[in-house]
Amino acid sequence: MFSRLPIFFAALLIFLTLPTFATEPAPDFTLPTFPDNIEINLKDFKGRVVYLDFWATWCPPCRKSFPWMDEIHERYKDEGLSVIAVTLDKKREQIEQFIKKTEPAFIIAHDPTGKVAKTYELRAMPTTYLIDRNGHLVMTHTGFRSIDKEGLEAAIQEQLEK
């Protein structure tokens, strides 16, 4: 009877880790860019790897991630990476002030009511979603610490190589 235990645990382990491997289509969205107010849709980025980041000016780890997002945008944009940073700030002046200071080269989109954040079931800020070239959600990451950079970059590289 006990000889079957390892098989049972192996099966259990595979079953429990299944959701991690399963990819699902990323929820579609249309949002205006900031400050130009040009409508962008997730479908426009089909064929590219999308690094979708939800942030706000009042969230310290979000601010900390900006120089790094600029770095990866510069490094991988020609290989097919699009960085879209969705701000959930309600006041435009706060975003303007922050953007003037940081001058990001990637796309900033504005979701003041949090409607897109809700469809992505955001639990904390910042939350990052990695979407593959076929529009499938392949990774979710919450928070931003210096030690996260390596893992995030490896995940981006893996998707770009596919």
Binding site: C59, D89, K118, G143
Partner: protein, 72 residues
């Protein structure tokens, strides 16, 4: 009988309205401000947490992080 039924319906309706909606992460801009912390002085928080962590480390210490903004 009808009075009791009406009363219990009224009470259950009133009580069901008591549930609180959790604050969404993107609505925590005011809660994330320094003045909204229970203790506004960062040094005092640091010292208190250090003592707490040292004393309660065996049961997880400061296992749950965050000061309201939901960032980490």
């Amino acid at each position: 009988m009808i009075k009791t039924l009406l009363f219990s319906t009224f009470i259950s309706l009133v009580l069901s309205a008591c549930s609180l909606e959790p604050v969404q992460p993107w609505d925590r801009d005011l809660l994330a401000q320094q003045k909204m912390q229970l203790v506004a002085d960062p040094l005092e928080i640091y010292l208190d947490e250090h003592t707490y962590f040292s004393k309660e480390a065996s049961s997880g210490g400061q296992g749950v992080g965050g000061g309201g903004c939901g960032c980490n």
